[in-house]
Amino acid sequence: MIKDMLKLFITNRKALLGVIILSIFIFIAVFAPLIAPYHPKQSSDQEGKFQLRAAPSSKHLLGTSHAGYDIFSRLIYGTRLSLMVGIVTGVITTFIALTLGLLGGYYGGVIDDIISFINNIFLVIPSLPLIIVIASYITIRGVWPIIFVLSFTGWAWGTRVIRSQVLTVREREFVKVAEVLGEKPLVIVFREILPNIISLVMATFFTSTIAAVIGEATLEFIGLGNISAVTWGTMLYWAQNNAALLYNAWWWFLPPGLFIGLLGTSFALMNFAIDEISNPKIRKR
């Protein structure tokens, strides 16, 4: 069944587009040093110091920042951390959601009550304010705190959705049969239930990753990230704090945002494709 889904996935146009975009970003991240013309913190070369806040030119494709850094290079290098944070957070969040969803949904009873209760609390509290508050209390600044905060607050939605689905699958005949046959719970969970919720898990992953990429950029924009790190979010921070708007320096804030949006779109496309594949009613014949 998983093979069938993979086949459907690859032939779906939206999914294909999403995968292509993602691959391009991964390519950029891996080969950053080869693609970027300068080092992100480089402010001069043999010809002398770089012009500050320069407009795009042949020497600096996207101009320079307030400190003379080449914006294009920073954009390229920024891909590494932004992508990493997004995906790592997505994986962690999905893992937590999957675990809690399976436990709560399958075992029911007290375990489920506790998990659901905590889940509901996290669901009701709006994530951004919570993220901001927690992040501002954590004094270390960097990407790992961000990953931590985002994961800590981001697992709620996925858990609820997965738990709901596990509850449904659990009542299906083949699970009942396995139970009657005396299969151990862990075996049932992994062999019977898991394959049937894979598409949902994938959807959770994509959604969480988009949220993480945006969340990271948001936190850094506010100044809660490591402002000396090179990510798309910090680029926006510097742009905002140095009145890029007022200097008419669109090349400073447009590209990072655009990249975030494109990366987000690629995940959204893949997510949408999975939706179409798993829900026959949405699928067009």
């Binding site: 609390i121 669901l123 009701v124 509290i125 709006p126 994530s127 951004l128 304010p129 919570l130 901001i132 508050v133 927690i134 501002s136 209390y137 954590i138 004094t139 939605w157 988009i210 945006i214 950029a217 948001t218 924009f221 506010i222 100044g223 809660l224 926006l236 905002q240 708007l245 007022l246 008419n248 669109w250 804030f253 447009l254 990072p256 945002g257 975030i260 949006g261 494109l262 990366l263 987000g264 779109t265 995940f267 959204a268 496309l269 949408f272 939706d275 009613k281 949405i282 067009k284």
Partner: protein
């Protein structure tokens, strides 16, 4: 009746939890922020330093249960502590000025985004076969992938800076007072358009996608086929048979949607320097004004809980099954 009571109980309980979390949060954090802050405030009066101590529960001479009791009593009196960045103004006074702006901006934007989002979502699902439908869907998927604040920046750039159609920021023209009457109101509306647009457009995507999905599921139901067989008009089927059922799951997911909208509107305020709660939060973070920070957080949670409660009431009105406590 039973449903209503249950909802009220949940509300009260949730408020209680929110207050407790708010109480626990600073006391759970590693001691660093408090001490750094106190060191920074060395030059200030003891009252300010006490405010910080209060906020962080560093008065270890008081038992934590007593601290909790005092905290709750203070809250009932509307005492949220003293703001550090606005010292010596109490936090509540600082907040009070910002609240109306946020409630207004966010309130209106949320309603607009719900209305437009729902209408568009219903239409997209109804006319699924057309190309335009696909294009619009794609457009919103695309928009949804962008950070809210970035979208705001773009709008500011193109519509306020490059072509000064709209103001760059703020809630009103500097210097205008409520006493200026109509001028004042006009200015508020004028300044509210860009931030409002930002919030509305970016949060619309969520509604559109949800309603569209719900609508598609509903359209596959048998009572739609029966309605067609009966010879009812298309608009009656679309509205009373399909849409009325499709909206229900959305309304129950309102709390979560509201979470997104709040996040978005906070950021929008930051970008536009709109003097609401979000902008205040931004400044509080920058200046490490923890009492203010906590109070804002508390208010946001309370706001969400109340809106959620109202959404639950709305469902009660719309869905007869819920009224009777029937299992769906």
């Amino acid at each position: 009746m039973k449903y209503f009571l249950r909802r009220i109980l949940w509300l009260v309980f949730a408020i209680f939890i929110a207050l407790t979390i708010n109480f626990m949060l600073p006391r759970l954090m590693p001691g660093d922020p408090a001490i750094i802050l106190i060191q920074r405030l060395e030059g200030l009066e003891p009252a300010a330093i006490n405010a910080v101590r209060n906020a962080f529960g560093l008065e270890t001479d008081k038992n934590i249960i007593i601290q909790y009791k005092d905290y709750l009593i203070d809250l009932l009196h509307g005492d949220l502590g003293i703001s550090i960045s606005h010292y010596p103004t109490p936090v509540w006074n600082v907040l009070r000025k910002a609240l109306p702006w946020t409630i207004g901006l966010m309130g209106i934007s949320t309603v607009l985004s719900f209305i437009f989002g729902t209408l568009i979502g219903i239409t997209l699902a109804w006319k699924r076969k057309s190309r335009i439908s696909d294009a619009v869907l794609g457009l919103f998927l695309f928009i949804r992938s962008f950070p809210y604040f970035w979208f705001g920046l773009i709008l500011v750039y193109f519509l306020a800076f490059n072509n000064p159609i709209f103001p760059l920021g703020g809630a009103t023209k500097v210097g205008l007072m409520p006493a200026d009457g109509w001028e004042y109101i006009k200015s508020i509306l004028y300044h509210g358009i860009l931030p409002g647009m930002t919030i509305t457009i970016t949060s619309m995507g969520y509604w559109i996608l949800t309603i569209r999905n719900n609508m598609i599921n509903v359209l596959a139901e048998d009572y739609i086929t029966v309605a067609k067989a009966k010879g009812l008009s298309m608009s009656r089927i679309k509205n009373l048979y399909a849409a009325k059922n499709a909206i229900l799951p959305s309304v129950s997911g309102f709390a979560m949607a509201l979470g997104f909208v709040i996040g978005g509107s906070l950021l929008t305020e930051m970008v536009f320097s709109y003097p609401g709660v979000g902008f205040m939060l931004y400044q509080a973070v920058q200046q490490q004004d923890y009492p203010l920070l906590q109070a804002i957080f508390l208010f946001i949670i309370l706001g969400v809980l109340f809106s959620n409660f109202i959404a639950d009431l709305v469902i009660m009105i719309l869905d007869p099954r819920v009224r009777d406590g029937a299992k769906k």
